[in-house]
Amino acid sequence: MSVKIVAFCCNWCSYAGADLAGTSRLNYPAQVKIIRVPCSCRVDVQFILRAFVRGADGVIVCGCHLGDCHYSTGNYHAEGRLTQLFSLLDFMGFERERVHLEWISAAEGAKFAATMDAFVTQVSALGKNERYRNMYTKAGAQNE
């Protein structure tokens, strides 16, 4: 079963980058499904964790390059918060490669497609996200 990827894209830069990838007819895997958010700082840690628990195998957050944020400091807060989340997930033993933060501007359609390609291959290598579902069940226990 192919992996499920959720991508949070900020409306002003990376979502526009995704649209540009579209208009330039570039190609990236269909498992990637994009959720539009006003700014990368709108991506709450609960959204990412909820996605994993509900069956996503990889989550990528895209935002404007540092300094280009439409809301001036949004992406700095996003970076601060998400680096803490990623280091905690790694600490808890979840594969760090299932989450990713990338700055993509409205003019980088090609970069968007390339980033999605690379991310899907990276997550497919890890396969389905069993660790999230089994964290609370003893390896052998079956009470789900």
Binding site: R25, A30, K33, I34, R54, T73
Partner: protein, 647 residues
């Protein structure tokens, strides 16, 4: 909840790789979807009509449109929904063109993904609350901070449009740096001839109120509803009575105070007007140097003043005023050359900056326009100009090019050669940058007509020995180091924002770059507005620029400000943060994350000001108890979308 789903073919753009009928059929399995249809061109007139009819016929309370990117037609479909009587924020768009049909070739994969995106949009629209754009009143009055050419031009344009303007200037007279200049490039017409008429117009204009010798102390509020506290420093002279006759500063005994206006090259009295054509032409008592204020004796000026306008007991007057918009026009100052010992600027009187040269050349200046060496007053026969002193320097100076030096140095060279044809002028440069209209022709005239010698190289060291300035220099084209001498050296010093800019930016909560220039909202889309709504940028406070550009930008800032003042009501973006005060514990963590300082603590619960909030959502995702939420992108909506996409 009755939802209608409309799948667009977009001609063949979507239809080619996505099976629209299949999606229209599949979404009907959801009990809440009461109508689903597809149409070749939804954005066209026919398509929109189809949506309006369906909304009326099936009494739809939510519409999902599977078509192109919301960045393309979100507003179009919002207007369609409004026409159909539905709240414009109860429609959701699934981007199945740019982000699906155009980027996935395999039909099944594309259709499967499109169905998932449609289901996600349905999940969002089920939770979409009707949103209503807020309104806030607009005070029909503008505040311009900084009385240079930029501030004056902006004030005049706004006043011409019929709105009241307060022009606040910290020095005793408006005019700014331009008043100190002799001639202006590229037309060589005299600065005063352009500036003074504008100053008089500004003073006389019934819509403009001048507040000179005043400073803005505090600014609160938001676009349309600013409240500024302004302190009018005590001039110790009653402005109504004073006729500007000048008897007082004639008689004033303390005459040895270096005049800021003349860059210290001449002296002024304790009671003074900065320059002859000062507007308002009312003197100010400099309390730090006036003998009356130092030890209570003197008071001569009061005695000679017929209209008895002198009033030593005058106090600072602080007043608050409502404004709709604020324009920053704080201008620039010359970069201090303390770090550049090698040019001996502080050691030798004959090494001066270009601004000081402007004063020496100015007819109203300390030498009445005669070019003299500040040390011995003789006319200099050989003058050397050194460019880029402090500019383009990342170690001790400013990393940027100050933009105006190449042109004003060429102007000085021509002006000197016109008055003293026999003078010998050398200019050391890295690159001569003259990009403006008629600028390069002007620079070539200096070289070809007036025989000014441009040397591509630099001066390493200057030392004054018995009146002669000896210089160690290098000529890169000759590729050799040589020594030369000069009677006077003029340094083209860098320019930097005026000291008042940083505190003002903090007061207005407008972003500033690391070099203390105001940051524009967007270099191309919104060049004269700051990121904070209602604050506009005029002149060099935004970045180095010459007078033609300053005036152009000043008018642009005025036009943008008029755009706000002309409206009676400001429509505020409805997708703003809103707090559920039953859940909010008042911990205040959201306050610091807001780039627009839109959040405040009211009786132990946070509150977001809809007029200031731009809807970035940083506060909503920081709030641990989900008390803070963002209209249009609520926690529940995004979670529902995540669930729909992950199932």
């Amino acid at each position: 909840m009755r939802i209608g789903v409309f799948v667009c073919h977009c001609g063949s753009n979507i239809k080619a790789t996505i099976d629209a009928e299949y999606i229209a059929a599949q979404v009907q399995q959801d009990a809440k979807v009461v109508h689903a249809a597809e149409y070749p061109y939804l954005c066209a007139e026919g398509g929109q009509q189809k949506i309006i009819n369906a909304v009326r016929e099936y009494q739809l309370t939510g519409v999902v449109i599977c078509a192109c990117s919301p960045r393309m037609h979100e507003n179009t479909f919002r207007k369609t929904a409004a026409k159909a009587g539905l709240n414009p924020y109860q429609i959701e768009i699934a981007n199945i063109r740019e982000q699906c049909s155009w980027v996935h070739k395999n039909k099944d994969a594309a259709t499967g993904k499109a169905l998932k995106l449609a289901k996600a949009a349905i999940a969002r629209v089920k939770l979409a609350l009707p949103l209503f754009a807020g309104e806030s009143a607009v005070t029909k009055r503008a505040l311009v901070i900084g009385g240079g050419i930029a501030g004056i031009q902006t004030a005049l344009d706004i006043a011409e449009a019929g709105f009241a303007v307060d022009l606040v200037e910290s020095t005793p007279s408006i005019g700014g740096k331009m008043a100190q200049l002799d001639k202006t490039f590229p037309t060589l017409d005299c600065a005063a001839c352009i500036l003074t008429p504008k100053m008089v117009d500004a003073a006389a204009h019934e819509k403009i109120t001048l507040h000179t010798y005043s400073e803005v102390e505090e600014v609160e509020g938001f676009v349309g509803n600013f409240t500024a506290t302004i302190r009018k420093k005590a001039r110790s002279v009653d402005m109504k009575k004073c006729t500007g006759c000048g008897a007082c500063w004639e008689k004033c005994p303390s005459k040895r105070i270096p005049s800021e206006f003349d860059c210290g090259l001449a002296n002024r009295t304790a009671i003074y007007t900065p320059f002859a054509q000062a507007v308002p032409n009312v003197p100010v008592i400099d309390r730090a140097t006036c003998i009356k204020f130092k030890n209570g004796r003197c008071g001569l000026c009061a005695d000679v003043c017929q209209p008895a306008a002198i009033d030593f007991t005058q106090e600072d007057a602080v007043f608050t005023q409502e404004y709709g918009v604020i324009i920053a026009a704080t201008g620039y100052q010359v970069f201090s050359l303390d770090a550049y010992g090698e040019y001996a600027y502080h050691d030798s009187k004959n090494v001066i900056t270009s601004l000081e040269l402007e004063r020496l050349m100015n007819a109203a200046g300390p030498t009445g326009g005669k070019l003299q060496r500040p040390s011995d007053g003789k006319a200099p026969k050989k003058i050397t100009f050194i460019q880029c002193v402090g500019s383009r320097d990342i170690t001790r100076g400013k990393p940027y090019c100050s933009k105006i030096c190449c042109m004003y140095t060429a102007k000085h060279a021509i002006a000197i050669k016109e008055k003293y044809p026999e003078a010998e002028i050398e200019i050391f440069y890295i690159d001569v940058r003259t990009p403006g209209k008629g600028f390069d022709e002007f620079y070539r005239r200096a070289v070809e007509v007036y025989g000014v010698r441009y040397i591509k190289g630099q001066v390493g060291k200057i030392a004054e020995m018995n009146g002669i300035l000896h210089m160690q220099a290098v000529d890169l084209l000759e590729n050799k180091r040589f020594d030369t001498t000069a009677d006077m050296v003029v340094l083209a010093a860098a320019i930097e924002p005026s000291p008042g800019a940083k505190p003002l930016a903090q007061m207005l909560a407008t972003p500033m770059d690391t070099l203390r220039f105001f940051s524009e909202a967007h270099p191309k889309l919104r060049p004269v507005e700051s990121a904070t709504a209602g604050i506009f940028l005029s002149g060099v406070c935004h970045g180095p620029k010459d007078i033609p550009e300053t005036v152009a930008q000043a008018s642009a800032a005025a036009c943008k400000a008029i755009g706000v003042l002309a409206k009676d009501k400001l429509i505020t973006n409805p997708c703003v943060a809103k707090v559920n005060d039953k859940k909010c514990t008042g911990c205040g963590r959201c306050i610091d994350v807001c780039p627009y300082k839109a959040i405040s603590l009211e009786s132990n619960a946070a509150e977001a000001n809809p007029a200031l909030c731009q809807g970035c959502g940083g506060c909503a995702s920081l709030c641990p108890s989900n008390a803070m939420d963002l209209n249009g992108f609520t926690h529940k909506q995004v979670l529902a979308e995540v669930d729909a996409l992950c199932r």
